[in-house]
């Protein structure tokens, strides 16, 4: 039997605006979205109110209580300097979330603009930009970012700019193909016959129609950004110690893993994993709602 579920072709009910549900209502009906959003919300709260929530000062060194395993006093144990791992994980949410969020916003804005221009104008611009994008994509993302950071020096701002720029071509490519689909539509010809100029057509006529694609691309890239930022921190290019940071904390502590101090690495790693999984759950739900 055919495995498709189709609506009967009668869509006249919709003709009067009844029976249609706003997209956010559809999202809230999906358990995957609820779970993902809840985890994400938890980390956002940590990022904003981290210091208030954390039971202890994440920077306070207790030299008498170093390398303590998880216990009632220190839920996630303490690190080599006796700092509370739980508090460091809570407070560490801020740097990674802020940097990856702004990096993704930057990449999405630039990538969307570039994708619109390439897709709508086409021709030489599209060809040249297309080849450049392919060249950039051929290099591993972290290596490219790494090179930039070496050249520019490290700071949260340069991390945002570098990761944002690295994402730009990726997003541009996806937006471009969505624009190519829109270019087949007659409403663009109608706009031309009203004498609209190119930027109006690109940003007022086409952009709203590719926004769903942009939204999905944003959430997908946010997940990647978290990985990228964590990796770069791990390599020592992120926030500098002693500021709590998941990637950096893993980097500092993984040397003592063989000694059995697993908690110093595991909990920041789980934090990264939960954040990425949460974002992907949200992304999947958004994609499915848009597709339906």
């Amino acid at each position: 039997m055919t495995d498709v579920v189709v609506e009967p072709t009668t869509s006249v009910a919709v003709a009067h605006g009844r029976g249609e549900m706003p997209p956010w209502r559809l999202l809230l009906r999906r358990p995957t979205f609820i779970v993902g959003a809840a985890i994400l919300l938890f980390w956002v709260i940590c990022a904003v109110f981290g210091h208030a929530i954390a039971p202890q000062d994440p920077l306070a060194q207790q030299l008498l209580a170093t390398n303590k395993a998880p216990s009632g006093a220190h839920w996630f144990g303490t690190d080599q300097l006796g700092r509370d791992v739980f508090s460091r994980v809570i407070v560490g949410a801020r740097t990674i979330l802020v940097i990856s969020f702004f990096a993704t916003v930057l990449g999405t804005v630039l990538g969307t603009a570039l994708g619109l221009i390439m897709g709508y104008l086409g021709g030489l611009i599209d060809t040249v930009a297309g080849r450049l994008i392919e060249a950039v994509l051929a290099l591993p993302l972290v290596i490219v970012a790494f090179l930039f950071l070496v050249a520019l020096g490290t700071s949260p701002l340069t991390m945002i700019v570098v990761v944002g720029l690295v994402f730009t071509p990726l997003i541009a490519r996806t937006v471009r193909s969505a624009v190519l689909v829109e270019r087949q539509q007659d409403y663009l010809d109608s706009a031309r016959l009203l004498g609209e100029n190119r930027s109006y057509i690109m940003f007022v006529e086409v952009l709203p129609n590719v926004l769903p694609v942009v939204l999905v691309e944003f959430t997908v890239r946010l997940g990647y950004a978290i990985f990228a930022i964590a990796s770069l921190s791990f390599l020592g290019f992120g926030v500098q110690p002693p500021t709590p940071d998941w990637g950096a904390d893993i980097s500092v502590n993984y040397g003592v893993l063989p000694a059995g101090y697993w908690w110093m690495v595991l909990f920041p790693a789980l934090a990264i994993a939960s954040l990425v999984v949460a974002i992907n759950l949200v992304t999947d739900s958004i994609e499915q709602v848009i597709a339906s």
Partner: protein, 686 residues
Amino acid sequence: MTATEIAAAGSVDDLTPTLRVEHLEVTHRVRGNDRRALRDVSFQIGRRESYGLVGESGSGKSTVALALTRYLPRNGRVTGGQISINGQDPLAMNEHELRQLRARTVSMVYQEPGKALNPSIRIGRQVAEVYEVAGLDRSVAQDKAEAMLRTVQISDPGRVMGLYPHQISGGMAQRVVIAMALAAEPALLILDEPTTALDATVESEVLDLVAALRADFATSVLFISHNLAVIAKMCDRVGVLYAGELLEEGPAHQVFEEPRHPYTVGLLRCIPRRGQRKDAGRLDTIPGFLPSPGHTLPGCVFAPRCPIAEQRCREAPPPAFPVGPGRTSRCYLHDETSHLPRNTPVEVELPSSREATETVVSLRDVSKTFTHSGEAVRALVGVNLDLERGETLGLVGESGSGKTTLARALLGLIAPDDGSTVELDGTALAGQAKRRPREQLKSLQIVFQNPDSALNRRHTVRRLISRPLSRLAGLSGERLRERLNDLVRSVRLEERHLSLRPSQLSGGLKQRVAIARAFGGGPRIVVCDEPTSALDVSVQAAILNLLADLQAKEQVTYLFISHDLGVVRYLSDRIAVLYLGRIMELGPAETVFAAPHHPYTEALLSAVPSIDGQRADRIRLHGEIPSAANPPSGCVFHTRCPRRLSSGVCETTEPPLAEVAPGHLMSCHIPIDQLTILQRVEQDSD
């Protein structure tokens, strides 16, 4: 059950109908709610009979076909009634028996032949497979397949068998699909809109083929279409489906001649027929909408839109009243249908009689050459045309004839070749719209075929209609609001529609928004590119009336493109017939429709099926339009022309577009007197 047993069961006597459907009810489950798609549908198809199901979109006609072979989507199921195909009940079958039924007893042909064929398997293989499933040897199957392709009139089957589906045309693909459907020698052949995606000339060939094969194969046919004329041509009996119910049934010619249900009457009145023209009066319409799926109307489903509905119609569903031999009508008032009142008055707000002639636009030597993979494709070749104020020029021709290219060149959406001139009020226009000043832009607007594509789905109706008012008419503030309200009223939209987005509107309402937008700037010329082809018949009539009214009021000129010659005839004052980018014939509408006409026009006209019966002798056009990249020598039409001269002049010399009567131009070597004699027979039928 083994294959032989099924075969035995299949060979039932000639008296059992091939298909019997009784009180069929189908329900779709949508978001947790049950929606009834079919209610109490009963009909039979006898041996060798051809039965037509007509209905507008949403009537449930495809659901019937899917239910018969249990191909309903996962959320649909048969919730009542019985089906019997050749005495067998598909609803009681297991997977294996169902496969046998689909392989041997019932075949289906769908609308899109391109989708019915596997794109990565050669034609020969696909057709042969049908025989292999039936248990034949591979080499025998191959031979059988070739013979079958010859039966469906594919001239070089050996070559076609080696091709992939994308290498053959739509008409040819549909022949292949029909060949595959008939290969199993099914007892029942279901055709679901089989020619809707095809050109009229190709459609007529495919329909002729089906009619011929039906006789040869002794197959019963269930023919599903929204096109009443196609059903009238193809079917012995017809059932009219509306909102999942069979409202009227009977012999096709009787139902169409003397309908006994208000819906059938309304449907027939919506279609411009028998040469009806806009000056003679408006088309009748069916107001309102199809009831929403899952409706719970206690009475007749058509009552909310019926002009003569009474209290009892709204209270209890009418039974199927017998209204003649083999005829039923689900209407309490089936005796009153012959004098059903009109929904739309005939009177025309008469156009202030067009001032003699005032040329608004003239096209001189307009050509357009596209470069397609290194080849020059001449889509338009030296077209000369004048458009006069307040007139409608109908543009007809098969797809690929250059109709849309001509319209786009006029609008400046594509720049014509150098040397072409398009003049507006004597001023030459820039080739591209973006180089034209506002005054010129606002003079030329368009209504597209598909409003879903033509309206930005993210913008509200208010924004869509306001934009031309501010951009082109230069209005703002209170004056914009006033004009907007005027405009909304004149296209018969309502104020509440303004805040909606296109997806919240029905097809007809969307097209009204598109029309309002085109008229916003106060245009002189509006190109209508198949404006009603995507719409249902009842909606089409309302849109055609609207276009006629607006023209009478605003004295606007239409360049009206349509493949539906009835529609073109209704709206057009003059007609231009295009073939391979050249004008073949140009003249007043009635002159072009009446003989003598160009052989191509003649062929187009005779290809169109009519509700009112077929012309006695039709000329048929074989094959498909040649490629514009490599047009035939001499007269480009000579390769398909049924009246080609034996002297050979047609093959060598291109005939000029010459005036054969005042205002009537034709490009043909045959002298007009001779054409008159050749085509005399048809003159009588007009």
